[in-house]
Symmetry: C2
Subunit: 333 residues, 2 copies
């Protein structure tokens, strides 16, 4: 109910998903009235899309922690409870990101040995996707948190990207291990000891170059760079438009440029990736853009299904236990 | 002597500058042999380009602080001494960035009330230039440092961009003052109190949108985003090339796109800006890319001249004193 165009995109995405994929069934959590009115526009198999009614909506501007207390019958809280009770196997939402994270932590709980669950976003590179952890869930991180992001990222890249031995890079300001801030210099030491496939530091210029499948950084930096990257297609579009306002020849060239850019930047359209996974909680949660299209909703469902099928939660649990057991006790706190 | 193609670009840039601008004279600091051999390729007014001989070169891979001790007769140290002794009015270098900063701090000293000198880089926006401070000189900043960057940035934007009342924004992960990490949340409070023209937080997506003339952030974040931005034209060029490798129609379209992109991204070419100013030291220092072209060298000289003419150092001194006097003593340490 919390997405910008809810429940239009959610319903359309659900309908399209059950039509295309026989093994996926959807529970739409929210106002039964509103949702059933929207569903009535489509013909579909009523056994495969159910409504679970609830009365409240957490809005985008609501403070996450307050909203959880004040709106216990919201679609986010109720949906995550269904997951907790095994009435569903994954939860997806285009609503208030902070609220989905907070509710997932509270209701599903953290995987043991994980101190900071994380969200990661895929960046398109010439050599396939790289995924950056964290992109905004965690500010003021400590080295151990970045190590956890790396471990969870490796499991994700391994099982979802099918990358056999994912390379891990640390985002910093120079390649040398002494370059960076206190956080990255200390994290470098940890990653080196971890026996992950750690390739060292990469710089901002390397993010789109496909040097590593998993890139780790503090959620502040990750969020800034993610939003910067997301702004690039619009900036270019705007510049092409200004370029066109010269003469007729420029107009023609600008048309060709605009359509060409659309094609070469197709994978910069974050709708395609269908939301970011929240890793480190006991359950599968995917968080989408507020403005998720029906296609984005469908991609979120498919991503969630893949994460369920691949037992991501169990693999994270195992791998993080393995690595943390090797670390001195002083570091892990 | 420390630039990637030194002294070729340096000499060519100097020659071109004295030919175009009657009031600018250049001292080339470095190996007299090497430089005079390079100068001999040109005809120019010998009174206006002098060589100041020195015997050592700080290389790109040298550790800045060690290099200053071990190479006292390097072009960076000797050049900055000339500035200190008023034999020159500004110093520019395409050499080792860390060494230029360290030597400037050591030899010129900090402007009083400045705790952290800073380097800023211009970003092209649809509404003119925005300048981001810091882009790599300062890691692990405190709120007071970001306030200082803002003050110095405002003086710079005011006098160099001729922006009358430069807007200052804080780079963060959301517009609300509570969004961000500890550093930005505390810095927000300081900037609010400062009576600068503070417009609040901006996100990564706003950097290229021209919302503020001066954007402040920790040097780690600034460096990552600067290098990411610098990588965009090459990424696009590469994608256009891949796009072209389809058929003849795509080849033609790709040609048009490539030439169009070159035009609309002209201001993404950081050579045009000619290096970053180091603000907060007693003197004008400009630091360029290692791979600075002759044109970049000339732009660095012109930028330095403008900074000298506008008395940037004195204005920073005055403005930082003004603002710091208003702050409680507990904050300024």
């Amino acid at each position: 109910m919390g997405g910008d165009s809810a429940p239009l995109s959610e319903v359309a995405g659900a309908i399209d998903t059950v039509k295309r994929y026989d093994h996926l069934n959807i529970i739409l959590v929210g106002s039964e009235d509103v949702i059933s009115r929207e569903l009535a526009k489509y013909s579909y198999d009523k056994d495969r899309i159910k409504i679970h009614n609830c009365s409240e909506v957490i809005e985008m501007h609501d403070s996450p922690t307050e909203a959880l207390k004040k709106k216990p019958d919201s679609s986010i809280v109720v949906g995550l409870k269904l997951l907790k009770q095994n009435a569903a196997q994954a939860f997806i939402s285009a609503g208030n990101t902070g609220a989905v994270m907070a509710a997932s932590l509270l209701l599903l709980g953290r995987i043991s040995n994980v101190t900071r669950p994380t969200i990661g976003e895929s960046f398109p590179t010439d050599k396939g996707l790289s995924i950056v952890f964290d992109v905004g869930a965690n500010m003021d991180c400590k080295p151990i948190h970045l190590l956890e992001f790396a471990i969870m990222g490796v499991v994700y890249a391994n099982h979802i990207f099918k990358s056999e031995n994912p390379r891990v890079a640390l985002l910093s300001v120079g390649e040398e291990k002494t370059k960076g801030d206190n956080l990255t210099v200390e994290t470098y030491e940890l990653l080196e000891k971890s026996h992950l496939n750690f390739i060292g530091n990469i710089e901002g210029a390397d993010v789109l170059r496909g040097k590593a499948e998993v890139i780790v950084c503090d959620g502040f930096v990750g969020n800034v760079i993610l939003k910067f990257a997301e702004s690039v297609p619009a900036v270019l579009k705007n510049r092409v438009r200004n370029y066109a306002s010269g003469n007729i020849f420029r107009k023609i060239r600008a048309k060709i440029m605009a359509s060409g850019l659309r094609q070469i930047l197709k994978d910069f359209d974050y709708q395609e990736y269908g939301g970011v996974p929240l890793l480190g909680v006991n359950g599968i949660t995917i968080i989408g853009h507020g403005k998720s299209s029906p296609k984005a909703i469908q991609n979120m469902i498919l991503k969630a299904e893949r994460m369920v099928r691949e037992n991501i939660t169990e693999f994270i649990q195992a791998k993080i236990k393995d690595i943390k057991e090797f670390l001195p006790k002083t570091i892990t706190n």
